[in-house]
Amino acid sequence: MSALPRREAPAELSEDEFRRFCEFFYRRTGIQFGANKRYFVDKRVLDRVRISGSFGFRDYFERLKRDSGEYQSLVNAMTVNETYFYREVYQLECLVKSILPELTKKRGGGALRIWSVPCSTGEEPYSIAFFLLEHFGRIDEFEVEIVASDIDTAVLDKAKAGLYSTRALQYVPTATLARFTADAGGGERRVVPALRDSIKFTSVNLLDAADDRFYRGFDVVFCRNLLIYFDDVSRREAAAAMFECMAPGGFVCLGHSESMSRISSLYQLRKFPEGIVYQKPM
């Protein structure tokens, strides 16, 4: 096996390298790339090969397994990080049509705790709030608490400010926008103060959250596109931390391509019309 001088790095991956990479990436993140994504994958992977100073794909592939920083950079490069309101809206529908009815079937009232972690710049917790207010018929019977957490305080500040572009809000129905946001000028809208104030934004590392009694008894956890960045052990720890933070019978929603089946054996699989979710056993 000859090491390639960096100057002469190839412009594309071989068939075998592409296949090996896709297998590896799928195993770690659940994200699949078909043959039609060949250019997308080749370009980004070879960029990382170059930037990381690796001698070629094989060298880079070995590095990936050891270097969690590089792994995270790779995942960042391969995933579309754009966040917007009502992203993966089928999960919000699942929340309202299946999850909450099941959770509240035997309850006459009381608290419903929902956790959005990581909440990033706030699109997710606000989407949950909008959707619940619009579609959850029994909302007045319960004290719904939405906690939104992130390890990054800069994005939390943005989330608290509640200011968004029309692009981020494009999938929210106009009537909903009119109800919960106000024109802020410059093509932006701001979430109304009452709604901004009702969401608890906190800075926390999921792996440490269970140490704090505040993070207990969650009925629903939205943990989308976080676990894909972790190595195997950290992923299991994160799933166990979430488990500890949840009430028995609570539900967890992961990102579209993610599945508990590659992460943790702690949860029960539940099938609803809107999709598969995982539940902490009663």
Binding site: E23, R27, S259, M260, S261, R262, I263, S264, S265, L269, K271, I276
Partner: protein, 123 residues
Amino acid sequence: MPNVLIIDDSATTRMFYRTTLESAGFCVDEAANGLEGLEKTMLAPFDLVIVDINMPKMDGLEFLCELRRREEVRGLPAIVISTMQRDQDRARAHAAGANAYVVKPIDPQALVAYGRLMTGMAA
């Protein structure tokens, strides 16, 4: 064409079963552990599941218990193909709901024969 789900943590084993069964006219899907397999059974109908015992996250015995517990899939025929050869391993698999138990490695002809038998395909 009958739909077969292969659940095994060895990619080579899955590939072997896939190529053998596809050549014999089966439609094949795969999963790398019992939990992923369970998901697949929830999302599409299968005529047969072939399952290993030793797998991460959810082993074959637990998969079978979960399968038999769920009304919509409890009748799905299941063949266990495992390296374990003691009588107690076989008994446990049957107790969990296996319809057949084969010790690895399985020959391609035997795999096809089992497949046809369990899915009612003409030989």
